[in-house]
Symmetry: C2
Subunit: 362 residues, 2 copies
């Protein structure tokens, strides 16, 4: 993997990644001439015991621009710079212009009736490809492998900063989940604390590991493979399946078979098979109704606190918003207010639908 | 408060509530001739440490029926029975025909690779008024007070069953949050376990109570009243405000000033003032953009485990889906995957918008 670190005119960082050497003379563009003026802050929510971040300037962020301007497409007209330059790169990562966390000159937090803090952390945008009309699932296996490597490099950089507790790469795909830019891209949130959902999962995984001496997801995967009912992909090193306890009708998990703490520790063989598992899911999703399938894809890794985490197990969880071809699953009373999910479809049925979608992986 | 307990032809319970005596000859209708055949089951989610409920028959549930048929309107044509009869009732409560929890003949749960269980519990529909075109905020204060009493009566009935750990009354309002029937109504979920969100809040409240000897929400309300900035209603016994740590742009909490464990313990004075606080919020919401304002309203109470809960404090949290007049707040990557909320508006600004909406309470 080749990479080139650049700085945008407004001070933000841009890294280009490629499978071939990159021209060192590439210059980083920015649609924004003025320096980033970010000052998000955290407020403590004492009833839920969690932090909430406030970044009031985010309301001005780019929203469904006219088709002739794509801020994630390569700059072709210097008079209208985008976020990424032309050149032979495959994946680009740059600092979010509207970060919910971090930013160069975060102000002191306001004095409030609850504890407040600077919103330390970091928010990045990951452009998956130069092809504005492409999709993650449409990329070659080699390109997806590169992306897995990029996620590892970004995670490593966050570990090395020393002030990041958790790194979450994710993709929101589709207008149904609020996506405003349709160029294939994801985001990375690097949090100053372990956020509530990974914290809860970590707690459960640690309890399981102490009791059984092995990982909860490792055992879960062994169970899914043995049951066989809900599998979508089973390779030498990676699997994809609809979990028996799915909370969303088309929920899918993608994981290595053996526990791996984070993208950093993936072996080349694991990475190659994980790319095959991931691409299988994405092609099945798009094949299901012969249209782009919206989802939230989140990759869970070990906390980046420098401690060993044998209980952690790198994996993706996909949360798609549809429950049938033309009905959305709304998160409402019981899900949002109680955190108690109610499913009107059995995971076995939904797995069957996805199993029957034929795909060509290569 | 007067009430009349009835049984529908399909075996489901219906209770009518009124401020005046009810005709005991009223007969309960049902749109469904055949008995309820519910068999939801729970599956354990070992990564999150929580139960998920599966009720596969729910896909057939009523979905935006044609305007001439309203299953929550009173039955006028015996050939097309609805869920509620004609008569002098103000509020009606009946067993959900498509329950996510409970049901009369719940089957044994399937054997799975994770623990499973019968989905014990109970799901009810609460019809707020006979007026299909009305709204909760449009009801008289006396009618809203009656509803608060009804929620208390339903909670008490669940306590008395002995197998319910938590009772959550809520209202999903508006197509934006997935509502399929627009007749003013809410739901009550009675859970066999304390669900994840109330469990977390309970844990935090207990920790606070042990440390400080008073309630976390009690102190929070004192702080909000002292700050004054975000208040929407301040009466002798109840308040409404945008919390300093709001996770949704127009989030509002409504609470008694003194801690009360549940609807059961409300004094008449508290109930009257809570009705005023609630109606204030609802009128301000609908007044803000001069159109019905969608929201999820959830009422948190103490667990119904028979233990004293001095740390609990009855209150409502409103989660509206809009962040501005024409932009929805989508819950995506950081909120759904990490549970870490990012706000692009300050609670103080949103409180100001709602404070400026003039209303007539009586």
């Amino acid at each position: 993997m080749y990479s080139l670190d650049l700085t945008k005119p407004d001070g933000r960082a841009l890294t280009l990644y490629a499978r071939h050497p990159l021209d060192p003379k590439i210059v980083a563009p920015s649609p924004f001439p003025e320096p980033l003026n970010a000052s998000p802050h955290l407020r403590w929510h004492p009833l839920r015991g969690e932090w909430v971040t406030y970044a009031a300037y985010r309301q001005g962020r780019t929203f469904l621009p006219p088709p002739e301007y794509n801020p994630l497409g390569v700059t072709t007209d210097p008079a209208h710079p985008t976020e990424v330059p032309a050149g032979g790169w495959d994946v680009a990562v740059f600092d979010n212009r509207f970060p919910s966390l971090g930013g160069p000159d975060a102000e002191e937090p306001p004095e409030l009736i609850v504890p407040s803090a600077r919103a330390a952390g970091h928010c990045e945008v990951v452009v998956f490809t130069q092809d504005a009309r492409g999709s993650l699932g449409g990329l070659t296996l080699a390109h997806i492998e590169l992306l897995l490597q990029v996620w590892g490099d970004r995670t490593l950089r966050m570990v090395q900063r020393g002030d990041i507790a958790y790194v979450l790469p994710f993709e929101n795909r589709g207008a149904e989940v609020g996506v405003t830019l349709h160029h294939p891209h994801g985001q990375i949130y690097a949090y100053p604390v372990v956020p509530p959902v990974p914290a809860r999962m970590q707690q459960e995984a640690q309890r399981y590991y102490r009791g059984k001496g092995c990982g909860v997801l490792q055992d879960f995967i062994a169970g899914e493979r043995h049951a066989g009912l809900r599998m979508l992909y089973e390779g030498a090193h990676a699997v994809a399946f609809v979990p028996v306890c799915a909370r969303y009708p088309y929920e899918v998990w993608v994981a290595t078979i053996e526990p791996v703490e984070s993208f950093i520790q993936l072996t080349p063989d694991q990475r190659a098979d994980l790319a095959r598992a991931l691409k299988t899911v994405l092609l099945k999703y798009d094949g299901l109704w012969q249209r782009p399938f919206p989802y939230l894809m989140a990759w869970y890794q070990a906390p980046t606190d420098g401690e060993p985490h044998p209980e952690s197990h790198l994996h993706a969880q996909f949360y798609p918003p549809y429950r049938t071809r033309d009905r959305l699953k709304y998160l409402a009373g019981t899900e949002i207010a109680a955190g108690f999910f109610a499913m009107d479809a059995l995971p076995e049925e939904k797995a069957g639908e996805l199993q029957r979608v034929e795909i060509a992986l290569e």
